[in-house]
């Protein structure tokens, strides 16, 4: 078997598992949907944090925008029509069903537009900062966004919003959101795979390794940085929209979960190995499963265990699983030296 056929087979196998999983374990649909969401989180964070070296704590901002936008669209479009009781601007169900999906699709589009616009707008200012200043600044943006959301009456302020309930049986809803997240994660994966193989990928790696050098070599660093952040924003907004509708209830804590999802996306990427394509996927999978196990078997102490896990991960595996593998077997990662050159002393060749 050649490498390519192997790859195709393995992608097919993972794809098939992903497709069949909800039928194999119907009770776990939501957890598995969230697994794909976690993978998406880790992948999008790694785009900035791992591949570009811009560690962001504020990516939940885009997730939050994604959460709220479709819910607001649903409310504005269909709330009055259905004559729902007007309590605090909540709504429960929408019929006919296609309205739900229309509103949802429209909401997702809006979410993406807003999130990407915000990323581009904020990016010009914030991406000029480097290192810990960038990290702190994004943290500030994430916290401030959550606080503003919890004060803004139009989106329910502190009372939160209720997104419409999926029209149809709950198991269908679980299936719908499972496949939504699955497809999103897969698209995200292949988009990033393609991006990393392009000049864009090289450029953001160069920015990570030495931004001053990249500038000295004339690379349009600002442009690449802004695009990277917009790509993250794009996928996170979609994930947020889907999560908001899956969760049905949206408030500040759901939409801007800085100290849960916000930190987890970083941890998952690091656990798997930041700066690699597969690292975030592996990291997210292991993290999510471990966490679910903690929740089931360590009632009340799960957070303590999680904290210990975090310390262990970053202290003992700062390079992550993929980074560790790469250190062990660099040749497997294509880091080879031509054999005859290994022994020979350095010499200047003749050129071509």
């Amino acid at each position: 078997m050649t490498d390519t056929t192997r790859n195709v087979l393995l992608y097919a196998l993972i794809g098939l598992t992903g497709l069949l999983a909800p039928s194999l374990a119907p009770a776990f649909r939501i957890q598995m949907a969230l697994l794909w969401m976690m993978i998406l989180f880790a992948l999008t964070w790694d785009l900035g944090g791992g591949q570009m070296g811009y560690n962001s704590f504020g990516n939940v901002l885009f997730f939050g925008i994604g959460c709220y936008a479709p819910a607001v669209v649903q409310r504005e479009l269909f709330f009055a029509v259905e004559g729902q009781p007007q309590a605090t601007g909540d709504l429960a169900t929408i019929s006919p069903a296609f309205n739900y999906f229309n509103g949802f699709a429209l909401g997702l589009t809006l979410a993406v537009i807003i999130a990407v616009a915000v990323a581009a707008g904020l990016g010009s200012g914030i991406l000029g900062l480097r290192g810990q200043y960038f990290a702190i600044c994004t943290l500030g943006v994430g916290v401030a966004a959550g606080e503003i959301a919890s004060g803004w009456d139009y989106i329910g302020a502190g009372s939160g919003m209720v997104a419409p309930i999926f029209p149809g049986h709950p198991s269908q809803a679980a299936l719908f959101f499972y496949y939504l997240f699955f497809v999103l994660a897969v698209i995200c994966f292949f988009t990033l795979k393609r991006l990393y193989a392009s000049r864009f990928g090289l450029a953001i790696n160069a920015i990570r390794d030495d931004e001053d050098k990249a500038e000295a070599m004339g690379v349009h660093t600002t442009r690449y940085k802004a695009i990277a952040w917009c790509v993250s924003a794009f996928f996170l907004a979609l994930a947020g929209g889907a999560f908001g509708h899956l969760n049905n209830f949206i408030d500040r804590e759901v939409a801007f979960p800085g100290i849960t999802f916000g930190v987890w996306m970083v941890l998952m990427a690091i656990l798997g190995g930041k700066g690699t394509l597969w690292g975030p996927v592996i990291g997210a999978t292991i993290f999510h499963v471990t966490q679910e196990l903690f929740w089931t078997y360590l009632l009340g102490w799960q957070r303590v265990a999680l904290g210990v896990l975090i310390v262990v991960i970053v202290v003992f595996f700062p390079l992550g699983i993929m980074g560790w593998l790469r250190e062990q077997w660099p040749e497997k990662f294509g880091e080879t030296v031509d054999l005859e050159a290994r022994a020979a002393p350095v010499s200047l060749g003749e050129g071509r």
Binding site: S198, N205, A206, M217, G218, H220, P330, R342
Partner: protein
């Protein structure tokens, strides 16, 4: 010969310390010009001013007749004026080949080129240049694993990948195995002659600069002390005094 770079009356101070004081010099197109001077005489500061690393306090810098003293680093680089660093800078986590591939000039970066894969022609060119500096066998190794001298060569190759018009080299032979220095000088001359790249070189090693440069400027205490052909400079008493610290 027409000048490719003209520096006129450039002054740069850091706090109270004047690093460059009213410096004027010219680099003719197609030549190799040397810049020498004892430690702390302001050579690297001048380089930094030229490539836009920091703004100058006074004076003008023109590149191919265009004022560049107000432009920023990447803009100047895209004009075809490139520099290498004294403390070599390469992209450590990327392979040597990738280091080369990203060094293709970013001038026509439309969305198309940004997201397209690296064309085979570029890879070929990169491999050729790696061969030229003797790193072809290590092209798949992470650049961070190279020795200091090898990084220096990689950085040179990266600069060439960019096809610059003027290349500012900050101590290109520092840290290079002495055995290889002659062949490196030869290489630099070929870069100048065959590829048509004008070189402006900071060099400590007098032997190197005498062999390499056609014209040499000497700085001391931030001021231009002397300039002329290498053999003249070599015997200039003021230069000798400056180096001996008299």
């Amino acid at each position: 010969m027409t000048p490719i770079l003209e520096v006129q009356g450039v002054t740069k101070a850091f706090g109270g310390v004047i690093a460059n004081d009213n410096i004027s010099l010219t680099v003719p197109k197609g030549s190799i010009v040397g810049l020498m001077g004892p430690n702390g005489s302001g050579k690297t500061t001048l380089f930094n001013s030229i490539v836009g690393y920091h703004p100058v306090d006074r004076g003008s810098i023109t590149f191919e007749g265009r004022e560049i003293s107000r432009l920023r680093v990447p803009e100047i680089a895209r004009l075809g004026l490139l520099r290498t660093f004294q403390q070599t800078r390469i992209y450590g986590m990327m392979s040597c080949l990738e280091n080369m591939q990203i060094s293709v000039p970013d001038t026509r970066d439309g969305l198309r080129t940004m997201f397209s894969k690296v064309p085979p022609a570029v890879t070929q060119q990169a491999e050729g240049l790696l061969e030229f500096v003797g790193l072809y066998a290590k092209r798949h190794l992470r650049a961070g694993e190279l020795s200091f001298g090898q990084r220096k060569l990689l950085e040179l190759a990266m600069a060439l990948m960019h096809e610059p018009k003027l290349l500012l080299l900050d101590e290109p032979t520092a840290g290079i195995n002495p055995v290889l220095i002659n062949s490196l000088i030869d290489r630099l001359k070929r870069i100048n002659a065959d590829l048509g790249v004008t070189l402006f070189v900071i060099e400590h090693n007098i032997r190197v600069i005498m062999k390499l440069a056609e014209h040499v400027y000497c700085l001391t205490h931030g001021q231009l002390l002397a300039d002329g052909p290498p053999d003249e400079i070599q015997t200039d008493q003021r230069v000798i005094d400056a180096y001996l610290g008299a």
